[in-house]
Symmetry: C2
Subunit: 155 residues, 2 copies
DNA sequence: CCATTTCGACAACCACGTTGCCTATTTTAG
DNA sequence: CTAAAATAGGCAACGTGGTTGTCGAAATGG
């Protein structure tokens, strides 16, 4: 404990890094024709995936209730990013699928994330960034990369 | 772009690190007699500080409207962490001050954050953690350490 | 065949943010 | 010194994203 650095900066730096990336992602997505995609929707689309998913399944993946997932799907549907289809096998289920527009947004997100990471690599150096990632992986340990952040933060 | 690592992991790692720290902070605070402190309240108390602040000032510091800050103060008041006092100098203002309980929570938070950072240092090595912090500082650049994360995320 | 589980939807509610508007007060200009 | 502008804080209405509880319909397992 002979260190001079205060502990409270560490979480703020992590949060600032996260925010910086997501802000730039959304700015770039907006520029590329997706002005309505909010961070939450990005995570939700990720949870749907290219294979589609049911609302209950989405809820489990996002760590929220199926009702909350259903509401998010409502929004995605309004925005034209997802659609509900009756499941031919299971009469209770509605399969949620990404529309071509949703798939486009998801694909662009992946590319933009790669570009942002490349920016960081250019700024920090490839090795240093890789070590940063490794260090984080070590520090967070087995903690899953959960995504139910909104509710977690507020509640 | 010859790197194999996908870009989307970087934000998730940063978020997971942040979550891990805040979750442990709140668990420890709960154990030490502050079960009601939510992440949001911790940031809000930080914004009040030991010298107190007005609601408008809080809003500016947190990056939210003065009304939103006022609502948060309502909660902190209910929980006994803050109080409103008439400003003797400016009849419009109400000075928001931390109660002894609020100061206690804030002090414990600082200690816990230091302990958590020490844990990371023990896991990663002191130099590696310091480099992680430096790298993040470099990468986020002048981006302020804003704290209006709930609204930012959702909106 | 019936009991249990699961799915999706609806309703009521809560937390936290927003804008717009209002009054009281302070500050600033003329 | 006074009139105008800026600021503080509170109120109302609303949006969004959660939560539980309930329900009917459809699957599933004895």
């Amino acid at each position: 404990m002979t260190e001079g650095r205060p502990g409270f900066e560490l979480p703020l730096l992590l949060l600032a890094g996260f925010r910086a990336l997501i802000d730039r992602l959304n700015a770039e997505l907006a520029r590329q024709g997706h002005p309505d995609v909010r961070p939450v929707y990005g995570f939700a689309m990720q949870a749907i995936g290219l294979d589609g998913a049911s609302a209950s399944e989405m809820g489990r993946r996002l760590g929220v209730s199926k009702q909350a997932a259903g509401k998010t799907v409502d929004r995605l549907e309004e925005l034209g990013y997802a659609e509900r289809v009756d499941d031919p096998v299971d009469g209770r289920r509605k399969l949620i699928r990404l529309t071509p527009r949703g798939i486009d947004a998801l694909g662009r997100s992946a590319i933009i994330f790669d570009e942002l990471r490349a920016d960081w690599a250019a700024t920090l150096g490839v090795d240093r960034l890789a070590d940063l990632e490794d260090a984080l992986r070590t520090a967070v340990g087995s903690a899953e990369l959960r995504v139910d952040t909104v509710s977690w933060f507020g509640t």
